[in-house]
Symmetry: none
Subunit: 410 residues, 2 copies
């Protein structure tokens, strides 16, 4: 089965957004045994969209469109597909009610524009959209399948996973089990060298290492006739990878580093608090994004100025004067003051220079000090990070969380 | 002049990488007055590549390929383009020397494979590549232009900027100026209804509203013979949009809401502090990501548990008992305690239910209360947000910042 992804939207042809949907869908289609031979992007132009749809239908079995299902008059995907497939658009009452409820829920007025989102090609299967007003459609006609999704990934991805992936699984008869491992603390090349022979020796399950949004990921995928069997085939492969990578491997099911850390804290009953300077709440925010964190996290402090480090955390002004606010010594006093204040078993402090200004020859932009305290014992780490302000702050948080994780494990 | 971008590479059709090249090139082509009507992606398959190239040449004036110029036998772009255009591949001695030098410079052995990278279509213009071994090619033949780039953005981007952008500038004689406006507080449909007549009446400058990552954006773009003149043409259009959208328009040069708010605070010399429950530091983290924030932000508190709201911010336990930790009353006491503690002129408190658990019939997941204090005066807002935990927290922060922004402006 050959699929093609057709993204519709002038914003893509203005370079305003990048077509991440195509990557996501392609990856998942490959997972379920569907080959993707083409991606196309076309603007909100009925003539060119029609031409692209006809071409796609002529060369692919499954055509997946993203975008153009919105309420505005530029949104023409549904109308154009219906025309090409010789289908009528009809009002779907349930969809209409859902859209009305959506607006009630978010306390906004439903506009006359939104009504057209309830019109769908007659006889198609509706793909529910829990995160937006535009439902998707699945059309099977004349031996071809057309699947239409809205453009925003936050809407498209759950719709694909909940409705279309199972549909394709049934169609291809290929059941795939896969696990996403994640690694922190070694570089991509080092990880690859450590497991390259395993990667090359495997065909089912396959081992695919890659970097996604700065994270080192290893996807292990097995094909079998049923899901449980596929998953069982994966387990011994994971064991072998684990032997090679040790505790640098932190996730076995795609969980984030913060999820891993929070689960570890909850599992061991270790309470935690945070004291942040350059990260400015980002560390706490990452932890707080994990449901259930309230079992172990009660509060945190953002001490951005020198004075607040002194006032709130009790850092000695002389320490800041002698060593600087960005120093191992200040980080240590921050975490000591923090734990004294919150009585938590674990504490993390971060102080650094996120840039773009504030760097010096000895402490350039990207210099970050982390102190981790666990049951009275303090470890510190000096980091030299690169990238822009946001990346420095993000990497500081990841390194700090990983440091705590390893400290708990050891 | 109409261009089309054709990315060549099976890795794109396996979902291993995302096609950021297409976005980059599209943006820059628009800047120089070249319209992009299509993007395509095809694998390293000679038959399908040929078919895609023929189609692209039939419907576009300029075809830009990325990828497939590497040394392996999968790299077939140059060979296929030469075949279609009826051109011979010939060894270019200077390119050959450059490739040899490149390997000497990076201390790696030149492989026999790399020699084929010195073969180029006879009569084409070479696009030098300082960051890799594969040169690009510019072919002008039969009224069509074909431009071939290697795939890695680190190679492609400088090649485009140094050689092709000036070439296109000369060809189109068009200079583009553009401004990105941003809107918060009204929905996409409402914004569109308010300015639709302006959008439709304009051709130069154009007005293009769209949604990017949940943000409502309006791009105003003017074409002229020089940049200053283009930018001057934009100003009156922005004025007209501003009349319609009022203070819901918060950015005139693409800046984020947090950048707008921090600049406003700095400009007015208003200090700020934050007290966060469900957002858990996300609000402070957003503010802290703006360089220069230290002028107005000294510290913040993350009071996730009820007890920490009482201990750190002095919230009355009876208030929490009577109204709940997620209530207008608690938000008000949080911001009062915060401002008392930090002596800042402005304070923001957020308390809410981010989910997935913790909702009740009266206060479902997504219920968030924000209190904003400015010079002793307190405003509150009750939000009903939807989406997952991260989105609820993100939208809570945006709404809180926007509330402060409007309070300062009024």
């Amino acid at each position: 089965m050959v699929a093609e992804i057709l993204a519709v939207g002038t914003e893509l042809l203005m370079g305003q957004i990048v077509n991440t949907n195509a990557q996501y869908l392609t990856k998942r289609l490959n997972d379920v045994g569907v080959n993707v031979y083409y991606h196309s992007v076309v603007g909100d132009n009925p003539i060119r969209l029609k031409e692209c749809l006809r071409l796609a239908l002529s060369r692919s079995d499954v055509v997946i469109t993203t975008g153009g299902l919105g309420p505005t008059k530029d949104d023409i995907t549904k109308e154009t597909v219906a025309e090409i497939m010789g289908m009528k658009l009809v009002r779907d009452e349930e969809t209409f009610r859902n859209i009305r409820c959506f607006f009630e829920r978010v306390n906004r007025k439903m506009l006359v524009n939104n009504i057209k989102q309830a019109d769908i090609p007659e006889g198609c299967t509706i793909i529910p959209n829990k995160n937006g007003t535009a439902p998707g459609c699945l059309i099977e006609k004349d031996g071809k399948t057309i699947i239409m999704f809205p453009g925003p990934p936050k809407e498209m991805i759950p719709m694909f996973e909940e409705t279309i992936y199972p549909y394709l699984e049934q169609k291809t008869g290929q059941i795939i089990g896969s696990r996403m491992l994640k690694v922190f603390g070694i570089g991509e090349s080092e990880m690859e060298m450590k497991i390259m022979d395993l990667v090359e020796a495997q065909s089912n399950p396959t081992i695919a290492p890659y970097v996604n949004m700065g994270e080192i990921v290893i996807r292990v995928t097995a094909r079998s006739k049923n899901y449980d069997e596929a998953m069982k085939m994966i387990d011994p492969v994971i064991e072998r990878i684990k032997e090679r990578l040790g505790s640098d491997l932190y996730a076995y099911s795609g969980e984030t580093l913060e999820e891993t850390v929070v689960q570890l804290l909850i599992g061991k009953g270790i309470s935690i608090s945070t004291a942040e300077s350059c990260t400015g709440g980002m560390l706490a925010s990452k932890l707080v994004n994990v449901p259930g964190v309230s079992d172990v996290f009660t509060n945190g402090f953002i001490t951005y100025s020198n004075q607040s480090k002194i006032d709130v955390l009790g850092v000695n002004p002389d320490t800041i004067k002698t060593y600087g606010a960005v120093s191992k010594e200040t980080a240590v006093e921050m975490v000591k003051g923090l734990v004294k204040k919150t009585s938590s078993r674990a504490g993390i402090s971060i102080t650094g220079i996120a840039g773009p200004d504030g760097g010096t020859p000895e402490k350039p932009v990207g210099s970050v000090y982390v102190a981790v305290m666990l049951d009275g014992e303090i470890d510190t780490m000096a980091l030299k990070l690169n990238g822009d302000r946001e990346r420095v702050r993000h990497m500081a948080c990841l390194n700090a969380m990983n440091m705590l994780r390893k400290k708990i494990l050891n």
